[in-house]
Symmetry: C2
Subunit: 335 residues, 2 copies
């Protein structure tokens, strides 16, 4: 890993977090967001529309920059799916209904700057590691709770990508043998219990069995079509019993996931991010940390392992993308 | 990690695997065992006796060397427990009933050569990685099935030791919520299902419930006090139903463990070692690999991940210990 010197002479880089719902672009220097812009993704309108919208979001963010935009050296974008960082192709992104989309090439044509493509969870983990809640930790685990459960593993200061570039699929850790069917088609994955999608499904099933819940009334009142973090918060505030049960179950399995990752990897810090964590904050993590500590070995300073909320919020992705771009540029110079 | 050049001018090193039952010492050059000696540990006779027996085993191995023993540059020993590699102290080794034993210092006094102390599973994993079934893999997971379940994680060619030096505790991955009580006191660890100790306990419980088994007759006939790998093999040959059930359950949970490690770490190869694997060979691994493949994501070349038996047998520990000593020496020269 090249040494990072995030000084005032750090390069000016555009970091982009491409999500199923939103596109967030930021002009970043040394971990600081200097200007940013957010737009809806509107994936249903097709690939070309989304590519145009990304370019527009980037251009708007650059327009907002109080400084010399020509100094921008590169763009790095994290896409919600499997990517080939070498070719810049998004192999598959189910939330966007994308298959084999040459994202890097398309943005290079539209924006005329060097473009790097990564994964959305990866950039979030790197952002939190270098500038957020994992700052200074040699080894870190990042867990992002949203529509799915994503994550990343930082080893010796670097995101561990694995042999096939497929490491960090922590959402599919089996936490219950022959358990609930996951979106991936397998049984017992933690994502089948602890994602927003899973919690909504569990609550619908219980309601179909005749149990009462206010969750769907709250959803309607808020004009939401699915279980969002704000719906979860309102339902918990209303002490809705099905929401409370689903949440407790999610926290229990996230606790097992955390314990298993700690036993295998011995990180200094476990950072929890994503919409649910941002909305509910530290109280969401307390039961997770309690279950985790009850399940990992309590030897040699285990009590000092920190389980903490992410610190950068929506900025984690763009900031992490900028870090990856800067590292790639430094490696290119060094080689 | 310093580059390894295991050529004919590799140093001559003594590698020692200190187990609860046996001490194995070997004089190693570049991954090749040139001379070796094995003795019983006899831990019940106390710390000093074991220390003397280690020194005797090493001296005998050196006596068998057809060459210049004065060329031996260092000794590295793997102990069955938690060690402090900096001080050479064995912090705790339950199988030996050792607490805070200054193993490095004691062997240096007895043998007058530089001594390095590591963990027994670590040295086995490193041996298999550099010269055995994991040779050439950048990322590898090692799983050792014996009285317990041990393991190690190789990332970017180096054993990942973690923040507290506690990484690789894969035997305590929770594979069943609220499951069987493990030797560590927690519930549902894979070690509580798949270690020899656990399988024996499970069979005893079923027998106490009135089910028939020949396992304990086989144990007696072989003069064994516990469920050894040879007893397991004989009981499986006799198609003992309780042995078969316990083994199938063990293989199922080892399959989940393997799947979870693959999803998190994306290794090129998973190497299974330890007494049970050595005795039963590839047929032991087939159901494990089948369950694993059914539970990890089948994306991007997942079918190419190898799940294979260890290749070095008893030599893995001493050979891996020699690798660690050589790396330490090279790092010292390089610094």
């Amino acid at each position: 890993m090249p040494a990072l010197s995030m000084e005032t002479n750090d390069p000016l880089i555009v970091g982009v977090d491409l999500g199923g719902t939103n596109i967030e672009a930021a002009v970043v220097r040394g971990g600081t967001v200097l200007a940013s812009k957010k737009k809806k993704t509107k994936a249903k309108r097709g690939v070309d529309t989304v590519l145009d919208r990304i370019a527009e979001t980037v251009t708007k963010a650059i327009d907002r920059l109080d400084g010399d935009a020509s100094a921008i050296e590169a763009l790095c974008i994290g896409a919600p799916g499997a990517v080939d960082p070498q070719t810049g192709v998004v192999l598959s992104a189910p939330n966007l209904d994308w298959h084999e989309v040459p994202l890097g090439e398309a943005l290079h044509e539209r924006l005329d700057m060097p473009v790097m493509v990564s994964n959305d969870v990866n950039i979030g983990v790197v952002g939190e590691h270098v500038y957020g809640a994992g700052k200074g930790a040699l080894h870190m685990v990042g867990i992002f709770v949203g529509s799915g459960i994503g994550g990343g593993v930082v080893i010796d200061g670097t995101l561990h990508s694995g042999w096939r570039g497929a490491a960090g699929e922590i959402g599919h850790m089996v936490v219950k043998p022959h358990g609930r069917v996951c979106g991936c088609g397998r049984e017992g994955c933690v994502e089948a219990y602890a994602s927003k999608t899973a919690m909504e499904k569990i609550i619908r099933e219980e309601q179909a069995r005749g149990r009462a819940t206010e969750v769907f009334d709250i959803m309607d009142a808020k004009g939401k079509e699915k279980l969002t973090s704000s719906v979860i918060e309102a339902a918990l505030d209303a002490e809705d019993p099905l929401m409370e049960e689903a949440m407790q179950q999610a926290q229990y399995y996230l606790g097992l996931l955390t314990a298993n990752l700690v036993n295998v990897l011995d990180p200094e810090v476990v950072v929890y991010g994503g919409g649910v964590v941002e909305r509910l904050g530290a109280p969401f993590l307390e039961p997770i940390a309690r279950t985790a500590r009850a399940h990992y070995l309590q030897r040699r300073g285990a009590e000092d392992i920190r389980i903490v909320p992410a610190a950068l919020g929506d900025d984690a992705g763009p900031v992490g993308a900028a870090v990856l771009a800067q590292r790639r540029m430094q490696a290119a110079i060094g080689s």
